[in-house]
Symmetry: C2
C-alpha cells in the first residue's frame, strides 16, 4: 500500500518540442497531467536561448521541484544514447545540439531526449492503452507519416535508432517518388499533402456541391480537415476520397499486422481526425489482406489524446 | 571460470520436424552439434507413433542422458505457450496435438515447441551471427516464404504468436492472388514455385541455349536450383530472372529495414542458394528504397548453415 502511494507521488517533466509550439507539463506516474503550459517555438533562436526560455518556463511550475527527471520529444534525427539532436526538420538552427547535457546543466535533473514519434507512441501506450498492452504501434498521420513501436511495454528503437519508419514502407513499388528517395511509400498516399493532392485531382471530375461551397474556388482549402467536414455532411465525393486513402492505410496496417503482430495500433495526427471515414475502409482492406488471427488480436483506434501524446510520452520517457 | 566450463557442459536436444525428414541432435550451449541423426518423417503415422519413434531414436544418443531440455521446431500453426501443434501443413494427421506434454511424458525432460521459422531464426542467431547481434530477421525462401524475428537476442512472437509472416507483406497491391487470401504478397514473387513460374514465362521469349540444354523440353525442370546452375554458367536469361526476383526481394527487405531497423537479415532455404545472383540485385533495390543509415547498419547474408539452422535453433530454444 505504501508503495502505491509513493509511486503516485512521483512526478516527471515532459517537453514536446514541435515546429510551432512547445508543450511542457508535469505528469504523474500514471500519465496524468498535473500542470501544463504551451509556448511558441522560438524557431529563429539559437538552441541555447530556446532551451533557456523553456527551462525558465518549466521552473514556474508549482511542482517543478518535485519532478525527478525530464523527458523531451523532438522531430528529427536524434541520438538517444547521447541525447543529441543531429538534425530537426522544423528547427533549422538545430544541428548537432547536445540537448541532454544542456538541460542537465541548467536543471541538475537527469534528462532523456528522443524522437517525437517514439514519445508519441509512449504517450499512446499510457493514455490510449492505459499501459495494458505489451505491444503497440503508434502511427502519426501528419504532413509526414511517422511511427513508434512499443514492444514489451518499452520503446523499440532498432539497431541504429531508426526503427518505426512506417511511412516509408512501400505500398506500391511503381508509385510516386517520395522525399526519402523511395517510390510508392505509404506517406505518398496517406500523408496530409498527398491526401489534398489526390482530392484535388479526384474533384476535377467529381466536384460536389458541399465541397464546392466550402472551398469557393480556392483549391488550397482542400485539406484533410475540410474533407472530414464534408464527409460528415454526407458528401459522397469526400467519402470516396476517404475510402481511397483509408484503403491505402489498410495495406500499410496489414503489413504491420503480418510482420509484428502487435496487440494494438493507435493512429494520431491531423489525417487521423477523419475517424471512421478513414478507419472503416482501412479495416475492410485489413480483412482482405492480413492474417485472420493477427488481425483479430490487433485493436485499431484513433487516439483520443492526440494533443497530449507528445508531452505525456516525453514525461513517461523520463519515468523509464 | 567455473561458470564458463559449467555452461559449455550443458547439452540440449533439438528436433527439427520437416515434411520429409526429422533431424535430431545433441547441441552444446554454443550451438555446436555434438551428435546428430536424420530419419524419414512418418507422414502417414499417427502423431503418437511418430513421436515414439523420434524419442526412441533420441535415446540412442550417447549423450542423451546429459541433455537437460528439449526443443522442437515444426511448420504450421503452433501454440508456443501450451506446446500444441494446432495444424501443420506437411503433416495431415497432426491436428491439435499436445506435442509438448507427449514428449515430456516420454522423456521426463522439459520440452518447448515452436514454429520452424522461429527455430530457424534462433539457429541463424547462434550459427551465422554467433549470438553477437541483438536483432536479426531470418527469412526462409522455400516454397513458402517464412520469417522469424530475434529482438534483444530472443524470439519475438507477437501478440498472438504469428509475428514474422514476412512472406505475406504486400509487395504489389495489384499483384497476384496468394494462397493466404491477400494479393501481391512477397511470396508470390520470391517463393520457389513462383520463381519457376516467372522463369517459364520469361523463357518463352528469352530461351537461352544453356537453359534449353539443361531443361531438354521439360519445363518442370525449371527450378530455382537449375536457374542458379545456369546463372553460374553465365547464362544471361538466368541472370535476368534472378535480377527480377532479387529486385522483388529488395523491396521486401527495404520494408523490413525501414520498419524494424534490424542489425542483420539472414536468408535461408532453397531459393537463397542463388547467393550473389539474388543478393546483389536485392541490395541495389535496398540502396534505392531503404533509409541510408538503417541500410548501412544491416548486415545481409545468405546463411552458411541452411541445413543445420532448424535443429540447432530447436536446441537453443530448449536452452532459453
Amino acid at each position: 500500500m505504501i508503495k502505491v502511494i509513493e509511486m503516485s507521488n512521483q512526478l516527471y517533466l515532459g517537453i514536446d518540442m514541435g515546429g510551432t509550439n512547445v508543450k511542457i507539463a508535469v505528469v504523474n506516474a500514471y500519465g496524468d497531467i498535473i500542470e501544463e503550459v504551451v509556448m511558441k517555438t522560438a524557431v529563429d533562436a539559437k538552441p541555447i536561448a530556446a532551451v533557456l526560455a523553456i527551462v525558465r518556463k518549466a521552473k514556474e511550475f508549482k511542482n517543478y521541484s518535485k519532478t525527478k527527471t525530464i523527458g523531451i520529444g523532438i522531430a528529427g534525427d536524434i541520438d538517444f544514447i547521447r541525447g543529441k539532436v543531429r538534425f530537426s526538420p522544423n528547427l533549422y538552427m538545430w544541428k548537432n545540439v547536445a540537448l541532454k547535457s544542456m538541460i542537465e546543466r541548467l536543471t541538475r535533473k537527469k534528462t532523456l531526449v528522443d524522437n517525437d514519434a517514439n514519445t508519441a507512441a509512449l504517450g499512446a501506450f499510457w493514455l490510449d492503452a492505459k499501459a495494458k498492452y505489451d505491444s503497440l504501434v503508434c502511427i502519426t498521420l501528419g504532413t509526414g507519416v511517422g511511427g513508434g513501436i512499443i514492444l514489451d511495454k518499452k520503446i523499440y528503437r532498432g539497431a541504429s535508432g531508426s526503427a518505426g519508419e512506417i511511412g516509408h514502407i512501400t505500398i506500391d513499388p511503381f508509385g510516386k517518388k517520395c522525399n526519402c528517395g523511395n517510390t510508392g511509400c505509404a506517406e505518398t498516399y496517406i500523408g496530409a499533402n498527398y491526401v489534398s493532392e489526390y482530392a484535388c485531382k479526384y474533384l476535377e471530375t467529381h466536384m460536389s456541391p458541399i465541397i464546392e461551397n466550402l472551398v469557393k474556388d480556392n483549391n488550397s482549402k482542400i485539406t484533410p480537415e475540410l474533407l472530414f467536414t464534408a464527409a460528415k455532411k454526407g458528401d459522397k465525393s469526400a467519402v470516396e476520397i476517404w475510402n481511397y486513402v483509408g484503403g491505402k492505410l489498410g495495406v500499410l496496417l496489414s503489413d504491420v499486422i503480418n510482420f509484428i503482430n502487435p496487440e494494438s495500433i493507435i493512429l494520431c495526427g491531423g489525417v487521423s481526425g477523419a475517424g471512421k471515414f478513414i478507419i472503416n475502409p482501412a479495416k475492410e482492406e485489413i480483412a482482405k489482406r492480413a492474417f485472420k488471427s493477427a488481425a483479430k488480436t490487433c485493436k485499431i483506434a484513433v487516439s483520443k489524446y492526440t494533443q497530449k501524446l507528445g508531452v505525456v510520452g516525453a514525461a513517461m520517457l523520463a519515468k523509464q
